[in-house]
C-alpha cells in the first residue's frame, strides 16, 4: 500500500469521528425509511434487509465479519459470530431508521475506517489483511475504554459498542441460547423451582 492511500484512509477515519460523542446526532438523510410501524405482524419471521435496505458495502461487511469473529470466535462449545448471521444483524442494526441505530451508525462506520487507518499506520496494510497477532495488537489497545489511551478513546468506545452488537446478534440465536445452556421457553406442566441439592449447596434450602 502506498503512502497516499494510507493518508486517505486516515483522513476518512478522522472525518468520521467528529460525529461522535455529542449524543444528538441527526439522522442520516439517506435513511428515511419509516420502520415497521406501530402495528407490525408479530408472528412473521423477519430477515435483515426485509424491512429497510442494508447499507454496508462489501469491504465493510468483510471487516464486520472479521471483527465479529475476533470478538466471538468458534470454540469447542459453539461456532463463531459470523457463522450465525451476526454480520447481517449488524448491517440491519446500523441501517435501521430508529434513533438508537442512527446514533450507533457513525460510531460503527467510523470505527471500521479507524481500524483500517490504524492497520495502515502500524503495518501498512488494511485490517483484514493483518495476521491474527497484528489484529489482536490493535484490539488490545481499544478493548477496554478505561485503559485506552486518550487518543484511542473514541476507538475504544466503538469497540465496546461493537462487542455489544456482536454479542446481541450471537446470543439471540438458537446457537447462542445453547452456548449458555438456556433451558427455558418451553411449556412445562409444573414448575418445581431449583433442585433441592443445589439449594443445599448454596445454603438456601
Amino acid at each position: 500500500m502506498d503512502r497516499r492511500t494510507t493518508i486517505k484512509w486516515v483522513v476518512a477515519a478522522s472525518a468520521a469521528w467528529p460525529l461522535l460523542g455529542r449524543g444528538t446526532e441527526r439522522a442520516d438523510p439517506a435513511l428515511t425509511v419509516r420502520g415497521y410501524g406501530t402495528d407490525p405482524n408479530l408472528l412473521a419471521v423477519y430477515r435483515p434487509g426485509e424491512l429497510w435496505p442494508l447499507t454496508l458495502t462489501a469491504p465493510q461487511r468483510r471487516l464486520a465479519g472479521i471483527l465479529a469473529d475476533i470478538i466471538i470466535p468458534a470454540d469447542p462449545h459453539s461456532p463463531s459470530a459470523s457463522a450465525v448471521g451476526v454480520v447481517e444483524f449488524i448491517d440491519e442494526w446500523v441501517s435501521a431508521p430508529y434513533p438508537d441505530n442512527q446514533r450507533d451508525r457513525p460510531i460503527v462506520l467510523g470505527g471500521f475506517s479507524w481500524l483500517d487507518a490504524e492497520a495502515a499506520r502500524r503495518f501498512g496494510k488494511r485490517f483484514p489483511e493483518l495476521d491474527t497477532t497484528e489484529q489482536n495488537g490493535i484490539c488490545d489497545d481499544i478493548c477496554d475504554e478505561t485503559r485506552a489511551a486518550t487518543v484511542r478513546r473514541d476507538a475504544a468506545r466503538f469497540f465496546a459498542l461493537y462487542r455489544d452488537l456482536t454479542a446481541a446478534g450471537f446470543y439471540s440465536t438458537p446457537v447462542g441460547r445453547r452456548d449458555l445452556s438456556y433451558l427455558g421457553n418451553v411449556p412445562l406442566a409444573r414448575f418445581d423451582g431449583p433442585p433441592p441439592a443445589l439449594l443445599r449447596k448454596l445454603n438456601l434450602a
Binding site: I71, D100, S172, L183, F191, N203
Partner: protein, 600 residues
Amino acid sequence: MPFVTAKSQRASYDVIVVGSGAAGGQSAYTLCMDGAKVLMLEAGRRYSPETETAMFQTPDLAPLAAVGTPQKPFGFYDATVDGGWEVPGEPYVRASEEAAGRFEWWRARMLGGRTNHWGRISLRYGPYDFKPRSRDGLGFDWPLGYEDIAPYYDKVELLIGVYGSNEGLENTPDSSPGCLLPPPKPLVSDRLIAQRAKRLGIPAIPGHRAVLTRPLDFRRSPARLHPGNVTAQRILADDMRRRAACVWATPCGRGCSIRANYQSTTVHLPPALASGNLDIATDAMVYEVTLGRDGRATGVSFVDRTTGRQQHATARVVILAASACESVRILLNSKSAQSPNGLANSSGSLGRYLMDTVGSTVRGQIPLLESLPPLNEDAADGDQLYVPWWLYRDQLAGKLGFARGYHIEFGGGKRMPGYGTAAGIEWLTGGSYGVKFKQDVRRYYGSFVYFDGRGEMIPNEHSFCEIDPSVKDKWGIPVLRFHWRWSEHELRQAAHMQRTFADIIGAMDGRTHGAVQNDGARAIAPGGSIIHEVGGAIMGSDPKTSVTNQWCQTWDVPNLFVTDGAVFASNADKNPTLTIMALAWRASDRILERMRRKEL
C-alpha cells in the same frame, strides 16, 4: 361476534363504557353479567390475544433482536400495538422539558388497552392507604375505607386469578380464604435476595400477580361471585374452564394466548360478550360527553377513526374508563354554557392532583450466582417474591425524612438470552474478547439482579393536566398539557431506595453496577414513566374539593361516572390496577342497584 360498527349500534343503551382496559373491562363485565345493555367504545383497533400473541417467538426471528424502538417501546414482541410514549398524530404537551418537571404519558390504542402488556402485579391497598391524611396530615383521605372495598378485592381476585400468600403484615392485607392461587416457587436468586435482605430486617414474601398458577375453580367461584344469578354463573364457569394454567414460559408482557394471565381481552370481555349484553365499537375515539337540558349526560360523541366521521351514542348512564388522563381530557373538552371549564368541574379540581409512582432502580452482580448449573428459570416471569413496605413505624415516628413507603420488585435468573445478556459487561471482564469473552459471558449469565423501588407519591398542587390552548390531535381534538413536580418526600424516598438496594447487594456479597445516587433528583424516574398515573378527577366527601363521590359518580352529573385511576385520592406504593378493578366493580354494582330503583 357482537363487535358492532358505529352504524349498527342500538338506538340506545343502558350504559356506555368509554375504554376497554382494567376499568372499562371490569365495568362492562359487572354490568353485562347482571343484564344491563352496554356499549363499549374503544379508541384503538380490535385485538385478539388468542391469534396475535407472539408466545414462543425468539429474538432472532424479529427485527433488531426484538429490542425496543419508539414504535414498540417495550420490545418487538410486547403486546402493545399502536401505543407507546408517543402516538403518531396524537401529541401532548409538556409545560416543562426540564428533567424535574417532565411528565411522560403512555397510551395503548387497542382493545384491552394497557392490560394486554402490564406487569400483572396485583397488590391490595391497605387500611392506611385510604386514610393517609388522617395518619400523617398530608394529601387526602378517600371517602371510603379498606373495609368498604375489601369484598371487591376478594371478588376481583377470584375472577381474574391472582397468586400470592397471606402473611399478616402491617397494611399489607390478607385475602379471604380461597381467593388467592398458590405462589410460584422462588428462583435461586430470589432465595438469596430473601436470605440476605432478612439479615437487614427487610422481609421478602411471595408476590401477588394475576397469573394462573393452577386452573381457576370453575365449580365454586362463579356462585361466590354471582350469587342468585344462574345465567352469570353458567357463563363464567364456561369461561373459567377455557382459561389454561400458566405453562411457566414466555414473558407475560407479550400477552397470553392461552389466557393464563389477566388481560381485559382474555378475562373480562369474553364472558361479557357471551352474555349477549355487550356491544363493542373499536376505532371509536370519544371526545365529549353530551348533556341534556336537565343537566344529565345523554351520551357521548366520538370520531369513527376508520372514516374520520363524528358519531353519537346515547345511554342512560355514561362511564368514563379511558385511563386517568384520557378521561380527564374528555371531561375538560366537554364544555358547554353550563360548564365552561369542563364537565363535572364545579370544584375546579378536574385535572388536578395527578400522581405517578416513584421509581428507582439499582442493578448488581452477585459472584455467588456465577456459573450455576443449567436451570429453567422462566418461572412466573418475575415477582415470585417481593418486599412490601416494612418501615411503617420508623416512618410514622418521623425517622426517615419522607412520609410514605415503597415496595421492592426484584429479580434475577437465567432469562432468555438476547440483547442485554452480554451488553456492557466490561466492568466485570476488563474488556475481554475472543474465547475469553465467551467464557466470561457463560460465567456471568444469570448472576445479575435488579431492584426496582415502587413508592407512593403524595398529590401536590404543581402536578396537573389541562387543555393546551392551541395544540390539537389529528382528529381536531384539543390535547392535554402536563405540569409536573416532585416534592421532597418523593425525592428523599428515591434516594432511600438507592441506599437500601445497595445495602442488599452488599449483603449478598455482590457489586452494584453504576453509581448509587444519594441525590433523589437523580435517582427518581421521570413522572409518568412508571405508567401508574392516577388522579385528575379525585373522589372525596366534599363536592367543593373533589370530582366524584365514593361511588365514582360525578358530583355534578348524577348519571356520569369515572371508574378508572382518575378517581384515586392517593397513589399508594401498591400498583393501581387491582384497586381500579375493585372500585369499578363496586361502582358498577351501585349503578345496577340505582338503575333497578329507576334512580338512573
